[in-house]
Symmetry: C2
Subunit: 148 residues, 2 copies
Amino acid sequence: MSNTPIVANPLLQLDNQLCFPLYALSRMVTKAYQPLLQELDLTYPQYLVFLLLWEHRELSVKELGDKLLLDSGTLTPLLKRLEQKQLISRRRDPRDERSVIIGLLPAGQELQVRACQVPEAVFARLNMTRAEAEALRNQLNTLLKQLA
Amino acid sequence: MSNTPIVANPLLQLDNQLCFPLYALSRMVTKAYQPLLQELDLTYPQYLVFLLLWEHRELSVKELGDKLLLDSGTLTPLLKRLEQKQLISRRRDPRDERSVIIGLLPAGQELQVRACQVPEAVFARLNMTRAEAEALRNQLNTLLKQLA
DNA sequence: TAATGTTTAATTGTGCGCAATTAAAAAGTC
DNA sequence: GACTTTTTAATTGCGCACAATTAAACATTA
């Protein structure tokens, strides 16, 4: 009875899944950022929010969610923590009181200078050429657009 | 003062990061599994545990962690939930009392039959050929081995 | 064998991620 | 203009992920 043969279904083997390396690599890359972001006192998703704010200065929660593919259940508490650290501001859009507009405070703006070295430092840890990285990024982005 | 020019640093733009499509695509793929796994009453990481158990029947928490790149802080509560649902068993290894051995219970074994259709169903949602999927998987696995 | 070091899980605490619900504002429709 | 529908955030609850700590079992070495 404890000898029931195990059906070796290749479709159900971890090594044959596309999902697993995607899942695992994503976490490993996040971990590669961690020590660098710790110096900025930011988590990885918080860092992504700042990438957008440094580029656009102001964005609504909705716009952040559209760009990061995250909903308000994730963003609202994250943004409140950044507000509490005086890095960003949160205010209702007077023209549409449903929207909450996120803006950079001086301390949040100043983080950009210290963040400049992060991409290079992380890149150095992944042993791949620029061309390889860009090719993979385009590949992943293509898939992403098909799904989102 | 609110006119401080924003330095457009391409290295700090979300669209130029490799990390973001990896992070976002991983979550999207997990979401693609969700409705299928819901019928098995499993979460995505729980499903990964079962892929390994269906293949190996018994594995220690350590072995599961090595294969999934997860630590006991993640696995212990997850496994306790599966134990509570009578899907798996947890017992100390009599030969090394530090190890906890995870085994399949009948209900957990029977889940395999219902799971057989999951990989095909998920694959259908990603508009890519087998060859493309395999190429990408190998690429991601190579990167993963470099990091782990 | 006694002391030291290593391995393995468990625990604790924090921060996502997301489904589901609620509530308010805005837009569309009759 | 009242009614309905849609949009937008916030809230609640649950399950990961993971860093840091603890404790027990095992291994190594003096």
